[in-house]
């Protein structure tokens, strides 16, 4: 893009581009667990590269100014950052809605009290499974389940609304009724059940994780049965591999959402660092507003101008925005192609082949997420 056309666009950008609604603040990639479907990048960032407390405080102010309404503190395990409480109370003072996305293993009566006093609005607690040994196996962490149950108890005791989050995959679909029962027993207000998305760590483990079509039908039946009971909000995310059309990408690339990595890179999506042609501006060098409206990583796939066929002439192009850029990259090696999940894509056969392979794979041997031990 030439400098002139860029500055022309820059003059109008604030009027034509919507302001972002939500910020995912990845405070650290450090985590005591090692899930094989972790959505963190395969190249994990190290502690020495992490943003300082002052950087984050300033970023939160810029976020509120820019129009962000909700901040999701995430990781890795965000509770591994000792300044988490300072950041939450600062966000709270700025009238930002604060959500903590945690594995719960660092929640104790003491840390819970500090979270509560910081003004935390909501906790999303991730569970691997309802079954203790299975949860240990998946997280590669001994006795993880009792710690999570205790965390849930402390959260609801403090009166903070709780969402349980389960990542669905081949081996745990049959336990969905038990997951709903657990959510009710722990007095959670919401339960999120999302099928694994296949890029990053999960793509390495796809054949072992992807459920069969029969399992998927089973999952939908469980959800429908639970919904008739009421009293529990269910957010069920189906696996896009079995759909005809891709899922909309976070309401559109650079339309609602931004993600800040532990070292301060600003990403249009948490998996965007997998796209080698993109470079990301850093909050150490630019304001959040400048990055949102003008940085190349955001403008590149924003809107519909970048789209190839079949998307360019498709009626759904402002509904699903051509699907997932990261999935196109992971499976086609080119982030600017139509998401291969779409049945109009010439590459849909790759998805069907992956489904066929997964149908044959029963034994689960995982590549666990690890710092500094990246396999292939």
């Amino acid at each position: 893009m030439s400098e002139t056309s860029h500055s022309n666009k820059a003059g109008r950008a604030e009027h034509t581009i919507p302001a972002p609604m939500s910020l995912l603040a990845e405070l650290t990639h450090r985590c005591p667990l090692s899930c094989p479907y972790c959505s963190n990048p395969v190249e994990l960032e190290r502690k020495a590269q992490e943003l300082s407390t002052e950087d984050w405080l300033r970023v939160l102010e810029e976020a509120a100014e820019l129009g962000i309404l909700q901040v999701h503190f995430s990781g890795g395990e965000p509770m591994a950052r000792p300044d988490l409480y300072t950041l939450i109370s600062h966000a709270h003072k700025l009238n930002l809605y604060t959500n903590l996305i945690t594995s719960g293993v660092l929640i104790t009566p003491q840390t819970m009290k500090r979270l509560d006093e910081s003004g935390l609005d909501h906790v999303q607690l991730s569970f691997q499974d309802t079954d203790g040994p299975e949860a240990d196996r998946l997280s590669d962490f001994p006795q993880v389940q009792p710690r999570k149950l205790e965390a849930a108890r402390l959260i609801t005791q403090a009166g903070i609304p709780l969402t349980l989050n389960f990542v669905l995959q081949k081996a745990n679909i049959s336990r969905m009724p038990a997951m709903f029962a657990l959510a009710r027993q722990l007095d959670a207000q919401r339960v999120e059940m999302a099928h694994t998305q296949y890029y990053g760590w999960a793509l390495k483990n796809r054949a072992a994780l992807l459920p069969s079509r029969t399992q998927l039908e089973e999952a939908s039946r469980y959800v429908a049965a639970e919904e008739t009971k009421g009293g529990l909000a269910i957010d069920y995310v189906t696996p896009d591999y079995y759909a005809e059309r891709p899922k909309p990408c976070m309401g559109g690339w650079g339309q609602r959402f931004l993600n800040i990595s532990p070292s301060g890179h600003v990403l249009p999506c948490h998996a965007a660092e997998t796209i080698p042609s993109l470079t990301f501006d850093n909050v150490r060098d630019h304001s959040l507003s400048h990055i949102w409206y003008h940085s190349r990583a955001f403008t590149l796939f924003r809107g519909t101008d970048w789209m190839p066929e079949p998307c360019a002439s498709c009626a759904r192009k402002e509904i699903d925005w051509g699907g997932c850029r990261c999935q196109a990259l992971a499976l086609l090696g080119d982030a600017s192609q139509t998401d291969p999940v779409c049945s109009l894509s010439p590459h849909r056969h790759l998805i069907d082949e992956a489904i066929a392979e997964a149908e044959k794979t029963n034994e689960q041997v995982f590549i666990y997420r690890r710092m500094g031990q990246n396999t292939r």
Binding site: L66, G67, L69, Y97, D121, Q124, P161
Partner: protein, 98 residues
């Protein structure tokens, strides 16, 4: 802890307020009012805003209805119906607590 009855109907003697994790907030960038809630911000229409702004967890709804009827010069019956219906619905969704 509040037990969640499927059909809560509020009365003028209740003194509801927002539950923890929910609040009414003015979004100055988009010039609109929203209800902040777990994982989403719900758009609040002007009638809902007028009602929700009156809630503090201590004032009886009867008093709130009187105030609104006076301010908007509207029949009290109609205001009462709107207020109780909206807040019963939001209580059922756990956004409002008694």
């Amino acid at each position: 802890m509040t037990t969640h009855a499927p059909h809560t109907m509020l009365t003028e003697d209740d003194c509801p307020g927002f539950s923890r994790g929910y609040r009414l907030q003015h979004d100055k960038v988009r010039e609109q009012w929203v209800i902040q809630a777990p994982e989403r911000a719900l758009l609040a229409d002007p009638i809902a805003v007028a009602i929700l702004q009156e809630l503090d967890g201590q004032t009886r709804l009867g008093v709130v209805i009187d105030r609104l009827a006076e301010r908007y010069e509207a029949p009290r019956d109609q205001i009462a119906t709107d207020v109780l219906a909206l807040l019963s619905d939001l209580t059922e969704k756990r956004i409002i607590r008694l």
